[in-house]
């Protein structure tokens, strides 16, 4: 401590300024309002600026975005990082930025493409307020231009390696450049092997990935990175043999770190040869892709679960199919007998029966008929629920005609039809026909007993959709019931008044929504109802 104080006391403010300005790192000191207050020589050199022209000016006045680059984000990103620092009072490291620099006016004043790795750190006063921001940068233009695109990491590694091989044949200065480059490639373990697999060089990326420092690993055999199982199977030797035979080896597998933990590696091995083809050894580039593998496995797992669920659903559907088949077959058989023998009794012995007995038997018959209708409707509802509906082009006129065929002549005379010509919808024809049939049948049904039922069927195009409307002037539906009516077995009226099973509209709703369409109702008591089917136009 005493030494430090001594040392400090020896330095004058002038010394500090000199030290600061000559520090071999490019940085800039900003006030919280982003005025430049100090700058290192390295920064001036990197940005082709002079101290006297930038100090005391606002940062973004001095360094605007390149106006010729419409995608420039430098100012936005830097300003957001500085705001973060001011707000959090903590250091903020920015991702690599493209931030072009203007050449001095005497050199034409044009912008030069530059990539930077900036770090912004706050300098706090005694109260903890931000007094300055140190904006430190590293010019990574060269690295980026050598292909630092993340998406092409693999290709880049391979390209890099080719270059390494080429460069190996070149001069020392160039070698030095690539040594530096390799050392900065933090995401890759890049090392070389002697022809027998002994490790000959080791970059910081390798150190970080595998945990060994160069001193403890250089001279060892690379097989130690493999799992015990792979070593016994002779995988390391196989890798080198394959690389020799094919000029190249690419593969993935588990690798072991110094602390025995494992990671999933993507590896490229290439033999290194002299110009006269003598084997120098191998280069090995390893990337940790554990996360990618984990995601892939997760994806596979999800796909498997999905398949399982689909299989379960298919099974459920098959069960339902069997169930409704048996409902259709077995449940209706006794009904046929009830209705059949009651009818036979009435036919054969009706005259000998008291009137009350005949009435009772008549009721048995109508009840069994009603139950039969109910079962039939229920079956249809369940069929439409389960059915896989595929939509295709349907001629609306034809579909409506088909629906109207379900009505007798008398009923048809009460229906007015109004269809825009050449109207086509994306729909499932039988489902659409069914829906229109049910709506028309309801339209003619829900009238006061004394009234003359009538209905209108309209079809028109509205934008991207086809609207099919069925309108009546019957009893109408109170607002509060307008949702309920689309649910199965919901009935608003007594059986005496308006007989029915309460499934008709549920079938319409289910069918229309299965076709990706919508069903709506507009109605008020005494004012009639308009049901609208909306499906995509074709």
């Amino acid at each position: 401590m005493a030494d430090l104080n001594n040392a400090r006391s020896e330095l004058t403010a002038e010394d500090f300024r000199r030290l600061f300005e000559n520090a071999p790192t490019p940085f800039l000191v900003l006030k919280p309002d982003l005025t430049i207050v100090a700058v290192s020589k390295a920064y001036l050199a990197a940005t082709m600026t002079r101290r006297e022209t930038i100090v005391a000016r606002k940062l973004f006045e001095v360094f605007p975005d390149n106006p010729t680059d419409p995608n420039a984000t430098g100012v936005r990103n830097l300003s957001s990082s500085l705001e973060t620092v001011l707000r959090t009072r903590a250091e903020h490291k920015m991702a690599i930025q493209k931030y072009d620099i203007r050449r001095p006016a005497e050199h034409g004043g044009e912008f030069e493409i530059r990539y930077w790795s900036p770090l912004n750190s706050p300098v706090l006063d005694d109260e903890g307020n931000v007094r300055f921001i140190i904006h430190r940068v590293e010019d990574v233009t060269e690295l980026v231009e050598l292909g630092m695109d993340r998406d092409q990491e693999h290709a880049r590694a391979r390209g890099l390696e080719t270059e390494i091989i080429t460069e190996a044949k070149n001069r020392k200065a160039v070698e030095e450049r690539y040594r530096l480059l390799i050392e900065t490639m933090q995401d890759y373990a890049i090392f070389t092997l002697d022809p027998d697999g002994t490790i000959a060089s080791w970059n910081p990326g390798a150190e970080r990935m595998k945990g060994y420092i160069p001193a403890e690993i250089i001279g060892q055999n690379f097989s130690r990175f493999y799992t015990e199982e792979d070593r016994q199977k002779g995988v390391p030797e196989m890798v080198l043999r394959t690389a020799l035979r094919q000029g190249h080896y690419e593969g993935e597998g588990w690798r072991v770190r110094k602390d025995r933990s494992q990671f999933w590696a993507s590896v490229v091995v290439t033999p290194l040869r002299t110009e006269n083809d003598t084997l120098l050894g191998f280069s090995k580039i390893t990337r940790d892709v554990t996360e990618r593998k984990r995601l892939t496995e997760q994806l596979k797992q999800h796909a498997k679960e999905l398949e399982l669920r689909i299989a379960e659903r298919d099974q459920t559907n098959a069960d339902l199919e069997a169930f409704s088949y048996s409902v259709a077959h077995d449940l209706r058989a006794p009904l046929r007998a009830i209705e059949g023998f009651t009818t036979a009794a009435l036919d054969d012995f009706g005259e000998q029966m008291p009137a009350r007995v005949r009435d009772y038997l008549q009721r048995v018959i109508s009840s069994s008929e009603r139950m039969d209708t109910l079962i039939a409707d229920l079956l249809q509802y369940s069929r439409i629920t389960r059915a896989e509906i595929t939509s295709s082009r349907v001629d609306v006129q034809e579909a409506i005609n088909q629906a109207l065929e379900h009505f007798d002549k008398d009923a048809r005379s009460k229906i007015v039809v109004n269809i825009e010509p050449k109207l086509a919808a994306m729909a499932h024809q039988p489902t659409l026909v069914q829906a229109v049939t049910n709506l028309v049948s309801n339209a003619l049904k829900f009238y006061p007993p004394s009234a003359n039922p009538h209905a209108e069927v309209r079809a028109l195009r509205e934008g991207e959709n086809v609207i099919i409307q069925v309108r009546d002037e019957g009893i109408g539906i109170d607002h509060v019931h307008q949702e309920q009516i689309f649910r199965a077995f919901e009935r608003l009226h007594g059986m005496e008044q308006y007989p029915g099973t309460g499934i008709g509209l549920a079938i319409v709703e289910r069918g229309v929504s299965k076709m990706g369409g919508k069903i709506r109702v507009q109605s008020a008591p005494g004012k009639g109802s308009t049901f609208s089917i909306e499906v995509r136009a074709a």
């Binding site: 209706r332 058989a333 006794p334 046929r336 209705e339 059949g340 009818t343 036979a344 008929e369 039969d372």
Partner: protein, 155 residues
């Protein structure tokens, strides 16, 4: 114009019903008795019985030659040997068994069943009418069509 040689007097015609539900069978029989009483009516209770009957085996070894089965009404859902099995068997037999008109009479309305029936050589596919009135209509239409309009094969 000559009178068809294949026309058989109705009193020599027999309708064979293969139906496991005794109620259904009885209702169909009653409908036949009302509307086509002069025709013969044989009720067989399952698929095995249908096969032995057509093959003149077992209890049907000596069944009367006079009574020619003119058509068979065949249910699909039958114990052990299904209606489809009977149909398949009949169509694989030598003449005259393979010629017999076989009409499926079933409660199933599944398209798959209808298709399968015709694929296997069914003559027609009829859904069991759910009401007495309709059943009577069906029987009377059947009689009209088969007796009045069709030429029967030699069986």
């Amino acid at each position: 114009m000559t009178e068809s040689v294949n026309r058989i007097p109705t009193e020599r015609m027999t309708v064979v019903l293969v139906e496991d539900d005794p109620n259904d069978a009885m209702l169909v029989r009653m409908a036949f008795e009302r509307t086509a009483g002069e025709m013969g009516f044989v009720h067989l209770i399952d698929g095995d019985a249908a096969v032995t009957y057509l093959a003149r085996e077992g209890p049907y070894e000596g069944r009367a030659q006079a009574r020619t089965p003119m058509l068979m009404l065949l249910d699909i859902k039958l114990p052990r040997r299904s209606g489809f099995d009977v149909l398949k068997w009949a169509r694989s037999q030598p003449a005259p068994i393979c010629r017999l008109p076989i009409l499926m009479l079933t409660s199933s309305a599944e398209t798959a069943d209808v298709n399968r029936a015709f694929d296997l050589g069914a003559t027609a596919y009829i859904r069991k009418p759910s009401r007495t009135k309709l059943l009577s209509e069906m029987v009377s239409d059947l009689k009209n069509f088969w007796v009045k309009w069709t030429e029967a094969p030699e069986v």
